[in-house]
């Protein structure tokens, strides 16, 4: 199973912080640590789309790892 397309609303919700999770995958924790401060400075649509794209790449490349699978399931309800 592949990840939902970047147009899926859940990508946006997690990037802008409409929903928050306690993530297990260290890379994801650092990713969100970084984008939270960057979106606080610039929450433009372009930036949101940029970070959705980066998150999609990060999870796609790591979807085989146990902790990443667990976090994908938190966001999308099912592991790829």
């Amino acid at each position: 199973m592949s990840l939902p397309p970047v147009t899926d609303r859940r990508w946006r919700d997690v990037i802008v912080g409409n929903v928050t999770y306690d993530f297990d995958f260290l890379a994801l924790q650092f990713f969100f640590g970084r984008i939270r401060m960057q979106l606080a400075r610039d929450s433009s649509e372009a930036n949101i789309m940029k970070y959705i794209g980066e998150l999609h790449v990060l999870l796609t490349k790591n979807a085989h790892l146990t902790n990443a699978k667990r976090d994908i399931a938190k966001i999308f309800g099912v592991s790829p």
Partner: protein, 333 residues
């Protein structure tokens, strides 16, 4: 699979095997080694099988496991370092060593989260150092074993490709946790700080630390999406009222002073994951944990390796144990 402290003769034998190696040791010892498929960095502090120790006559040698099918070594300057994540194999990992107090160390600390592909592939490593009494007198170095070349201003990375159905996972153990005190934010990114916002009120940071009696052996701690990230104090310059740090603070991040630590080994042991045995490939800890928690002669279980001037788990960390494990990946992911 994890490394061990070795004599120069034993390390020379390991190099002769041709397997890719990661070495840590004193500069004079590293300079005696033959060329080969290795990278190294200077550091004389270690957590070893026999416990924490300082040695300038032995080396910590980590052989990359048989699951690694190919390696390449890259030398990086501040410009090429921006490609560090993209150059890691898609099915592998990177091990990066940077020389402490160099411009490339600062560049990575400040900018890595903005490099292309940040955190998309596993990157671990450490920052080389020297005996603490030699800081400022002796330059930390990294060594390219292919040519026995020492670098004070460049970084080195082993790019490792893994066998099919294997993957690299990075973990950290950080016993520090934000205390209940003031919320600190900083107007600018940097390793040296004059001003701080204490619960939103601008103060001189050095004066604030003196007034509050901060224990500067305890780091500032920030919550990065659930991961606790430390920033350690290097010293306070009372003449310039400037606080110097071993890692940068970032504008927009909320920090708190760490809660006190009663016994490092006890708290470390309580946090160590129990299921890394057998797949643990390498680890490194912070020299400040070694020094402040008086780890000499004490053991931290399977987590042995150099005690360094900075640790890398995707990005630069301080006062944190970093480890890399090789795990099986089931068919179909």
């Amino acid at each position: 699979m994890i490394g061990h402290l070795m004599s120069v003769d034993d390390a020379t034998g390991a190099i002769a095997s041709g397997r890719p190696l990661l070495l840590a040791g004193d500069e004079q010892v590293l300079r005696t080694l033959p060329s080969g498929n290795w990278i190294g960095g200077t550091i004389p502090y270690f957590m070893a099988d026999e416990g924490g120790l300082f040695t300038q006559s032995r080396l910590f040698v980590t052989e990359l496991p048989g699951d690694v099918t190919d390696t390449a070594i890259g030398v990086y300057d501040e410009s090429s370092l921006q490609r560090v994540y993209d150059e890691i194999p898609d099915t592998g990992f990177g091990i990066l060593i940077l020389p402490a107090f160099s411009a490339i160390h600062s560049a990575f600390a400040l900018n890595a989260p903005n490099y292309a592909g940040f955190a998309t592939k596993p990157l671990v490593g450490w920052v080389s150092g020297v005996a603490v009494e030699d800081v400022g007198r002796v330059a930390p170095l990294v060594f390219d074993g292919r040519t026995n070349t020492a670098h004070a201003h460049h970084g080195l990375m082993i790019r490792a490709t893994l066998a099919p159905h294997k993957a690299a996972e990075i973990g950290i153990v950080n016993i520090f946790w934000p205390g209940a005190g003031d919320t600190l934010t900083f107007p600018e990114n940097g390793f040296s700080v004059s001003d701080v916002l204490v619960n939103g009120v601008r103060r001189n940071f050095a004066e604030y630390i003196r007034e509050t009696g901060y224990d500067i052996q305890l780091p500032l701690v920030a919550n990065y999406g659930g991961a606790m990230i430390n920033v350690c104090f290097r010293g306070i310059d009372d003449d310039t009222h400037t606080v110097h740090l071993y890692g940068p603070v970032f504008h927009g991040v909320e920090y708190r002073h760490s809660r006190p630590i009663v016994n490092y080994v006890d708290e470390f042991t309580a946090q160590v994951p129990r299921q890394t045995q057998g797949t643990l490939t390498l680890s490194c800890n912070c020299v400040l944990n070694y020094l402040y928690s008086e780890l000499e002669g004490k053991r931290t279980g399977a987590f042995v390796g150099p005690c360094t001037f900075g640790e890398i788990a995707y990005q630069l960390l301080n006062q944190t144990l970093v480890y890399l494990s090789i795990v099986d990946v089931a068919d179909g992911g």
